[in-house]
Amino acid sequence: MEKAIDTCEQSGVAKEMFEKLDMFINSFEIDTNGTRRKGDLIRILHRAQQIFGYLPEEVQIHVARKLNVHHSEVSGVISFYNYFTTEPRGKHNISVCMGTACFVKGADKILEEFEKELGIKAGQVTEDMEFSINIVRCIGACGLAPVVTIGEKVFGRLKPGGDVKKILDQYRSEVAE
């Protein structure tokens, strides 16, 4: 997982990240005066979030300049879409599905347990930056409801009163090692 930018500025990691992003943007050969120059914006923001972990202002401004659009247009797009975040997320981002299938199978109780175990609310990060929780709407694994994803891993058919703690312990022991 990528670290927050300010902590890596000194190490030159940030520079590397920006270079990576530029390589991606340049591959589109965007006509910066054309009317369609924003057509690849969302794809670029996806890549940027993958590289940086989130979309802080300096990244937004950088992307805006590369596409020759105003910063407000970029931040407007970011604030519209749930997938984009301007705050860093935890090393393990826990996405709790609150789609209908999961909801009727008690996803709200699962969410409550995660919040209680970690002492944070959905949308927040733990102080040590290890865990964050966010809510998603249906990842299409409704057959396994209620469903939670951590990174790429999917946990399904969760039951309140035990499963949540077990999952967290797996990741916590990783931290301890």
């Binding site: 794809r43 923001l45 407007g76 519209f80 009727v104 299409g140 409704c142």
Partner: protein
């Protein structure tokens, strides 16, 4: 894998003959030239993958090698079989033996007992829940019996990462035929005659939509495949893209030919990484064999497809918002007219079709109009895929002919209500739809019938609810969703829904006035009439429909401050019945609030002022001494 380019329709037919053995053991009758004696098909859909199906594949391969069977048996990853409830699923062909809930550790038994010993691993066979009888063959399982698979025809049959298997399953024959034998207007005419209607929600006839886009002259036009699948609880589009991506590509190319477009976009949710990966592979392979690109099958027609990604906004499923999103803007809907067919993406004629709609198209061309129009009802032709979820025994994807009744879907295919509880309602059409109750279980499913009973077809999400679900709470849940997803462009949707939600919250907290139901319906109707896009226009539907069918339940909340399902926390109390309490202390030890007191072997008491109604004590008491009031 290097793939050879197919230069003409005749060459495609030759290639079909050359590769049809690939599906030898998997289709009825089988091909004598099949390469392997047996094939082991393992579900590679999102659901089963998260239950370790890749590890199952790995173990099966290791075991097969160890038994020296690798030249005789092939293990394959396929798309979703639909029976997600029982996943991971392993199907052995040509025996048609269907193993359910397989774990990586079961690989050894499957190989040794079945593949080597020619026996069956009985414990992994599906058990019919009523008769407690094991069923061996997938075609005998009730879940599959009433289904007809058109859109899902290749899911769970072919390897979605090998385009040659798609060719072996009649792939690109429809495209070849259109390019060689039909003109654009003839293709459109054929689509109109098929009676196919959009599966993305609206039910608009696909042929008419193509005709409209073809009518407007323009040098540039676009085809868009709507793979945003926003309805939470619907997952058919994902399964099609994961299990049979090529059929969607083929249909988009046909649509492009019909309306005169040479570029297509698939707008797909970023939440579907596996579908994205399979699409990328399919597009790359289609380019290699010349089914995408310049001069397809030497017809002079050029067409190529690119992916565009969503970023978690439900409203972007609405076609005008989707177009805004592809243009790199906030996904806010625009007024219609002008319709996309006239002025869509980058202001040129654009045709937006749903994934499932598209997946039907190649099959209609290869199997013919007579076949397709014989399925379904007068005005709703063909099949519809539904995602069955909620309190039902067989969660999964089912494809049934239009005109099937809800009862057949829920009881015959779905296996009835989980835990033997009582059916209460089924919600169709997601956040835009409504509830259907017991009284309407025998209504044949068609676009018109569902609208007439106050719900809608929608994209095909079907959430089954039982007597432990509170209808007020469910409609509140949908409104929360709408509130979060409203783009905020127009006032009735942005503010009206907020007020609706506040009123519902008041009801669930026992703080509502007696006349609140009148106000709810008045405001709901206003929002429906005055919102700009389909999201706002349909957002009050869940509330209005539950108020209509479950009026008593609303009144109980409002007047008696009671929630019969025991869901609305503010309206209930956990109480210990002192006669039944033996003083085992189990509840007190587990109460997170430490609000249960009492001496050992003496009746306990709950301090209602501190109780947070978590229900843990209720679960922990083995003596039935705790009651919900």
């Amino acid at each position: 894998m290097k793939l050879e380019k197919i230069e003409s329709f005749d060459a495609l037919k030759e290639r079909f003959e050359a590769v049809r053995h690939l599906l030898g053991s998997r289709v009825e009758g089988g091909d004598p030239n099949k390469q392997y004696e047996r094939e082991v098909l393992v579900c590679g859909g999102t659901g089963c993958v998260s239950s370790d199906s890749f590890k199952i594949i790995e173990n099966l391969r290791l075991e097969i090698d160890a038994c020296g069977l690798s030249t005789k048996v092939q293990v394959l990853k396929t798309g979703c079989f639909g029976f997600c409830e029982k996943g991971p699923i392993v199907l052995i062909q040509p025996d048609n033996v269907f193993y359910v809930q397989v774990t990586p550790d079961d690989a050894a038994d499957i190989v040794r007992q079945h593949l080597v010993g020619n026996g069956r691993v009985v414990r992994l066979l599906y058990e019919e829940p009523l008769l407690k009888k094991k069923i061996e063959k997938s075609r005998d399982i009730p879940f599959y019996k009433k289904q007809i698979r058109i859109a899902l025809r290749n899911c769970g049959v072919i390897n979605p990462e090998n385009i040659l298997e798609y060719i072996a399953a009649d792939g690109f024959q429809a495209l070849g035929k259109c390019l060689k034998e039909l003109t654009g207007p003839q293709v459109i005419d054929f689509m109109k005659k098929s009676g196919l209607r959009g599966r993305g929600g609206g039910g608009f006839p696909t042929g008419l939509k193509w005709e409209a886009a073809a009518r407007f002259a323009s040098e540039e036009k676009f085809i868009i495949c709507n793979a945003d699948e926003g309805d939470p609880g619907a997952f058919m589009d994902r399964s099609i893209l994961e299990g049979d991506p090529c059929s969607v590509l083929e249909a988009m190319t046909i649509a492009g030919y019909a309306i005169g477009a040479s570029v297509g976009y698939v707008y797909i949710r970023a939440e579907y990484p596996l579908a994205i990966q399979r699409l990328e592979i399919a597009i790359e392979q289609a380019r290699q064999i010349g089914m995408l690109g310049k001069n397809i099958m030497n017809s002079g027609f050029d067409f190529d497809i690119e992916l565009k990604f969503g970023a978690g906004a439900f409203v972007c499923g609405e076609e005008t918002a989707l177009i805004q999103s592809i243009e790199g803007c906030r996904g806010e809907p625009t007024t219609k007219p002008p319709f996309p067919a006239e002025s869509g993406l980058w202001k040129v004629p654009t045709c937006v079709n749903n994934v499932e709609t598209l997946a039907n198209i190649p099959a209609i061309f290869t199997r013919g109009l007579d076949w397709f129009t014989s399925i379904g009802t007068d005005k709703s032709k063909g099949t519809k895929v539904f995602a069955l979820a909620g309190k039902i025994n067989n969660v999964g994807l089912v494809e049934v002919p239009m005109g099937t009744t809800l009862r057949e879907i829920i009881y015959d295919i779905g296996g009835g209500i989980r835990g033997g509880r009582e059916f209460k309602a089924v919600q169709t059409g997601g956040p835009s739809g409504g509830c259907i109750t017991k009284e309407n279980l025998d209504t044949p499913i068609t676009y018109e019938n569902l609208t007439a009973i106050g719900s809608m077809m929608g994209s095909g999400g079907m959430i089954v609810m039982d007597d432990s679900d509170c209808m007020v709470n469910i409609s509140k849940f949908y409104l929360e969703f709408t509130l979060e997803e409203s783009c905020g462009k127009c006032t009735p949707c942005r503010i009206g829904n907020k007020r609706l939600h506040e009123m519902l919250t008041a009801i669930t907290e026992g703080k509502a006035d007696k006349d609140i139901m009148q106000r709810l319906s008045a405001l709901g109707e206003t929002i429906k009439k005055t919102s700009l896009c389909g999201l706002g226009q349909s957002s009050p539907n869940p509330v209005l429909s539950t108020m209509k069918f479950f009026k008593d339940e609303y009144l109980e909340h409002i007047i008696d401050h009671k929630c019969r399902a025991g869901v609305c926390k503010n309206l209930m109390q956990y109480v210990i019945i002192s006669d039944k309490c033996v003083g085992c202390t189990a509840c007190a030890r587990n109460c997170p609030q430490n609000c249960i007191s009492g001496k050992v072997k003496q009746p306990h008491v709950i301090d209602q002022t501190k109780c947070i109604k978590c229900g843990i004590c209720y679960q922990k008491c083995k003596f039935g001494a705790i009651e919900i009031r």
